[in-house]
């Protein structure tokens, strides 16, 4: 990771509405050159609308978007040769052959990447003469990625680049994204796969309901790798009695019905053996068996569910 990564994408207070329904309601984040920034969130969180504003495909209703310091709408002519885009669903013409589409894309740039090299990297060599509609979903995805990268972009916006890929193809795409990062490209990808974001991203932007609910490196978001305690029990247990016994900075959350996580939200607080004892003693008092009691690291999924539980009015979350 570079010492002081230069900002390639800067989104500030972005608002995008469709009719009266806000898809993005004041989102802000930055993405740096030489880093993978994952915009993460459930379906309908506003991820695609956000990147489409960055790509110049949609006009923001509020806030500003800057890509390489420029306005995607006003400076589209300058930005388009420098920005690679992979749309959700690919956007590929069904009747055309894979090789023709890649060649067409290459012809748009003065110094394109060698199509053969990308084809080899993405393992598409056997499908070049096949009409796109007869390619598998995964092959279409990889072709769309090749089209996004053929012009040697400085910024790559990849909307769900691994959707519909089998595990092997996912590894191929992940490797390609890591190589992009190592050559200084700012990669902005959307995903709803938490493990993908955790494995691939330098920065994670967590979106829910059109807003950025958390942002940072996966390590920062998961509390610096501190321990968490999780267990299953009956849903909807009153948590106040436990919460008051836990030290400051340690919280207990029912992240989904019947699933409880005890952990720290700040680097200052660490889960201690005494906290584990407090949890098990609390369970004992209630005559409740903590099924699947596990001491482990908090995953991005735990963070996400905790945040979702906090955001949701019906969520049971204490402190």
């Amino acid at each position: 990771m570079p010492e002081s990564p230069s900002v390639a994408v800067e989104v500030t207070d972005l608002v995008k509405r469709y009719g009266t329904r806000p898809a993005v309601a004041g989102a802000s984040f930055t993405a740096a050159a030489g880093q993978v920034t994952a915009v993460l969130g459930p379906n309908g969180a506003g991820k695609t609308s956000t990147v489409e504003c960055c790509e110049g495909l949609r006009k923001p209703d509020g806030g500003t978007v800057r890509v390489l310091g420029r306005d995607p709408l006003r400076d589209g002519g300058w930005l388009r040769p420098r920005v690679g885009v992979m749309l959700q669903g690919g956007g590929m013409p069904g009747a055309a052959r894979a090789a023709d589409v890649l060649q067409l894309a290459a012809a748009m740039y003065r110094r394109p990447r060698d199509p053969g090299e990308l084809i080899a990297a993405l393992d598409l060599g056997a499908q070049l003469r096949t009409p796109i509609r007869r390619l598998s979903g995964g092959q279409q995805q990889r072709l769309a990625l090749a089209v996004a990268l053929i012009g040697r972009p400085l910024v790559a916006f990849l909307d769900e680049p691994t959707a519909g890929l089998d595990p092997q193809a996912r590894i191929v795409v992940h490797d390609l994204i890591r190589e992009l990062r190592s050559t200084g490209v700012a990669v902005v990808l959307t995903t709803h796969l938490l493990d993908e974001a955790e494995r691939l991203a330098d920065q994670v932007v967590l979106m829910a309901g059109g807003r950025v609910v958390a942002a940072g490196s996966p390590q920062e978001l998961t509390g610096g790798g501190g321990a968490t305690l999780s267990f299953d029990a009956v849903a909807g247990v009153e948590l106040t009695a436990l919460a008051v016994q836990l030290p400051a900075g340690i919280t207990v959350t029912e992240i989904r019905p019947g699933r409880y996580v005890v952990g720290s939200h700040s680097p200052q607080a660490q889960l201690s053996p005494a906290d584990v004892a407090a949890v098990t003693a609390w369970c004992a008092r209630l005559g409740m068996m903590p099924e699947g009691l596990t001491l482990g690291r908090r995953s991005l999924e735990d963070v996400f569910l905790e945040i979702a539980a906090r955001e949701h009015p019906a969520a049971v979350a204490v402190r």
Binding site: P81, R82, V83, M108, Y109, L176
Partner: protein
């Protein structure tokens, strides 16, 4: 997997020259049209059948004079409409649904380059149509007036502009399946009573209306220029007006997604 480092800033001009971009798009679109069986049926096979049918039978009254002299310009008009309107609208409608229009809008081609390339492809396919159908017409005895070639070319260009803009309007406002149905239906209606192969003055009571349609102006314009070598000023004006209206409406209502 070897990717050469690209950490250096992009060259000042990272995009290919605009002519190269538009030509690449035009070549791609033209090849797509020529590879597509249904499109070929519409752009070449059906006009050829209409040409042979009209010149060899006397089922339909084309008007005074040798039948081939009236049939050939009308069939050329029909073929130009097939490519610039029906074929182009259907292709654009499905490309729009697939997301290709949005995707190409993010490449250096941009939206104007995309339209320019598509128009280039239409013109290229039309050139092939003119050569094929013109040759067939001459073999069937057609003798176009050489003085009418220039006005006929102008009629063809303005007619193409009008029909491309109307085709884009259709493709950019309706669902792909609706574009398919509407574009084909309109083609059949224009063939039957749009003043394309049958002169407007042969259409009875609807004739005075039809001559103000782009189809009637295109058909009549080609017939009068290629048959008698005259400049069809009224038809040219009508086509120009439709091109302006169609382009303005397309700019106003075309949706890329």
């Amino acid at each position: 997997m070897i990717l050469e480092p690209t950490a250096h800033p992009a060259p000042t001009e990272a995009a290919a020259p605009v002519a190269q971009r538009v030509l690449a798009q035009a070549r791609f679109d033209a090849r797509s049209m020529l590879r597509n069986g249904e499109q070929l049926m519409l752009t070449v096979i059906l006009p050829l059948l209409v040409l042979v049918g009209l010149s060899r039978s006397s089922v339909v009254d084309l008007g005074d004079g040798p039948r081939i002299q009236l049939a050939a310009p009308g069939v050329l008009a029909l073929a130009l409409i097939s490519t610039s309107f029906t074929g182009q609208a259907i292709a654009t409608g499905f490309d729009r649904r697939a997301g290709l229009l949005r995707l190409l809008g993010t490449t250096p081609l941009g939206r104007t380059g995309l339209i320019a390339g598509r128009v280039g492809a239409v013109l290229a396919v039309q050139l092939i149509q003119i050569v094929l159908l013109g040759t067939a017409g001459v073999l069937l005895g057609w003798r176009p007036d050489s003085a009418g070639i220039v006005p006929a070319l102008l009629v063809g260009v303005l007619g193409t502009a009008a029909f491309v803009s109307l085709g884009l309007l259709l493709a950019g406002t309706l669902r792909a399946e609706a574009v398919l149905a509407a574009a084909n239906l309109i083609w059949v209606l224009l063939l039957a009573g749009g003043g394309v192969v049958l002169a407007a003055d042969r259409l009875g009571p609807v004739g005075p209306v039809v001559q103000w349609l782009p189809s009637g102006a295109l058909g009549d314009g080609l017939r009068s220029s290629l048959s008698s070598g005259t400049w069809p000023w009224l038809d040219l004006a009508v086509l120009l007006a439709w091109a302006v209206i169609g382009t303005a409406a397309t700019v106003r209502w075309f949706r890329w997604d």
